[in-house]
């Protein structure tokens, strides 16, 4: 049985997340779309906190809501005039989009509600498992260890990837 506070928090966050995601793809002003995306990402971070992954929520806020959103706003300001509205949608594209998303939603929700896998425990039960509490030292050991279920190689690969993408970004975006 979950606490009432958790359920209320869940509903508030879920509604804000879905509504802002909807507005992010339908609004005509691009800077507003970026702001709605920011709200959606922050609500996802709240979900991570609620599910007991505090470090992941902090990373989500720092990298996504902090870093990527700054990149988006930077790019929008560089490539758009102030108050520029996007061109009206073409009707055939809109029909394709609605058809694809309604069909996808129907298929995914059908699969979800038919799947026997997902009948089960509540959030409080999942969080009360003995090994469910992840401490910072667990994450540190998993990130820089080289044994089973430890991630030294992907960690180093990501650092090389970030370096390559910094150099690539500078080379692509500089003036000729």
């Amino acid at each position: 049985m979950d606490s009432v506070g958790n359920i209320i928090l869940y509903f508030v966050v879920a509604i804000v997340m879905v509504v802002s995601a909807f507005l992010a793809v339908t609004t005509t002003k691009i800077l507003r779309a970026a702001t709605y995306l920011l709200f959606s990402l922050l609500c996802t971070a709240v979900f991570y906190f609620q599910l007991g992954y505090q470090f992941l929520g902090a990373v989500q806020i720092a990298v996504y809501a902090g870093g990527i959103m700054v990149l988006f706003v930077f790019a929008i300001i560089l490539t758009h005039k102030p108050n520029e509205k996007s061109a009206p949608l073409l009707p055939h594209r809109q029909i394709t989009g609605i058809a694809a998303s309604v069909a996808g939603a129907g298929l995914l929700l059908f699969a979800l509600f038919k799947m026997p896998l997902v009948k089960g425990i509540s959030l409080a039960e999942a969080l009360s498992n003995d090994s469910a509490q992840i401490t910072m030292s667990d994450i540190g050991h998993a990130l820089v260890g080289s044994e089973k279920f430890q991630y030294l190689l992907p960690f180093e690969a990501v650092s090389v990837l970030l370096l390559a993408c910094i150099i690539g970004g500078v080379v692509i975006a500089r003036k000729q």
Partner: protein, 103 residues
């Protein structure tokens, strides 16, 4: 009332289909990238939810999401560099106006 796994998966599904809708209907490349981020975000959320409910003793889903966030940051940086370069050469960022390659 219990917050079972379905309560978390349904908003994730909605996030994904809104991303699909935006990716198909938008013409502006930055708006398409925003829709792409929504889809990526819903996939990340799914990893974490399944990790929490089905395998609460391990943290592989969390680690996968951690690396996915890092790679998403790299991907967005390169995509935005490309978009700025395209804006310099053709003056806007609509996908319908990009018809020629350099070579």
């Amino acid at each position: 009332m219990d917050l079972s796994i379905l309560w978390y998966l349904v908003p994730s599904v909605l996030l994904f289909v809104f991303g699909v809708y935006g990716f198909i209907t938008r013409k502006n490349m930055i708006a398409m990238l925003i829709s792409l981020e929504l889809m990526l975000n819903s996939a990340d959320l799914n990893f974490v939810i399944f990790n929490r409910y089905l395998f609460p003793g391990s943290m592989e889903g969390m680690m996968f999401t951690l690396f996915a966030i890092a790679i998403a940051a790299a991907e967005t940086a390169v995509a935005i560099a490309l978009i700025i370069n395209i804006y310099r050469s053709i003056g806007n960022t609509n996908v319908t106006d990009i018809k020629e390659m350099k070579f």
